[in-house]
């Protein structure tokens, strides 16, 4: 039975620097970059752009063919979710970014299951970036549709609810980040652990069947987590713009 470090060294075909981060000194501040996540994010961006551009090249209204149907299905599915949760006129501005969230997170979760690649969402930095975009969107939509009256919702109905509503507001990006990070990162580590499980032949027989079963489940988990991130972003923004009573 191999230990985790041993398995990861043997799987490291592309030669990522071990426990990698590049240090950079800009002025007086220390910056750290993780080259594996950066390069995998660029690869995912290239895959998403090539897929969507190739699918909608020469689009036809009456007879859509092939991949254009997939993009239309995704668009209509997310539009149905947005219209169920908020006023369709207010939701029209939100639709583009949540479709982008869905397609990007779906592709980046699935790209980590290809044997020698890893997901950009398996790093907490990527997920924190996406969750902070949602956090900003909540405020932008709230202030745009309600003006400065939006900040009154912190103190209605009683003033002493203020700590509770502040914590609720801060917990939204934190839970979004860690939910996605935990699901995808734990899936990848478990895949490596399962490969080292049954004896020393990592390439051929060691835990191969169990890791195939876990790969199949990870496809399902990747799709569900992309859907949940999108759905929760829509629900948070719809709570910020809703006119109640």
């Amino acid at each position: 039975m191999l230990s985790l470090e041993h398995v990861e060294e043997q799987l490291n075909i592309w030669g990522w620097p071990h426990n990698g981060s590049w240090e950079l000194l800009v002025g007086n501040t220390h910056l750290q970059f993780n080259p594996k996540t950066l390069i995998m994010t660029w690869i995912t961006m290239a895959v998403v752009i090539i897929f969507v551009v190739a699918a909608t090249r020469g689009m036809s209204l009456r007879k859509p063919k092939g991949a254009q149907n997939i993009v239309e299905m995704i668009w209509e599915f997310i539009r149905g979710l947005v219209n169920d949760n908020m006023d369709p006129k207010k939701g029209a501005a939100l639709l583009s970014i949540v479709v982008t969230y869905f397609i990007f997170i779906l592709f980046s979760n699935l790209i980590g299951l290809v044997p020698t690649l890893s997901s950009p969402t398996a790093d907490y930095n990527t997920n924190l970036g996406l969750a902070l975009c949602t956090f900003l969107l909540i405020y932008i939509f709230g202030i745009r549709y309600k003006g400065l009256r939006y900040f009154k919702h912190y103190i209605t109905p009683f003033v002493f609810f203020l700590p509770i509503t502040i914590i609720e507001d801060l917990s939204k990006p934190i839970t979004l980040t860690f939910r996605l990070y935990g699901n995808i990162y734990a899936g990848e580590v478990l895949l490596a652990v399962l490969l080292g499980l049954l004896g020393g032949w990592l390439h051929v027989f060691g835990g191969f069947v169990t890791s195939v079963i876990w790969l199949a489940f990870s496809i399902f988990v990747g799709c569900i987590q992309a859907f949940i991130f999108t759905m929760l972003s829509i629900v948070y923004v719809s709570q910020a713009v809703s006119e109640e009573h």
Binding site: L4, T175, F178, G182, V189, I224, F227, I228, L232
Partner: protein, 78 residues
């Protein structure tokens, strides 16, 4: 006790309790979903969507427990 022993115990406890919590939570949600569909089969689409969302939300905390267990797992060597 040594660091390695404490880390091994901590990792096992984290994963075990996380699995317990996830199992109970998902079981409650799924049983409510199944009885809702049994009462009104036309609502199947809505109920199943809600069930998937609830499972994703409930599983967030146990999965954070599993990530902590993986972090401790690396320190088992001492």
């Amino acid at each position: 006790m040594e660091v390695g022993a404490g880390a091994a115990l901590g990792a096992a406890l984290a994963v075990g309790l996380a699995a317990l919590g996830a199992g109970i939570g998902d079981g409650l949600v799924s049983s409510a979903a199944v009885s809702g569909i049994a009462r009104q089969p036309e609502a199947k689409g809505n109920i199943m969507t809600l069930m998937f969302i609830s499972v994703g939300l409930i599983e967030a905390m146990p999965i954070i427990g599993v990530v902590i267990a993986f972090m401790l797992f690396g320190k088992v060597g001492g």
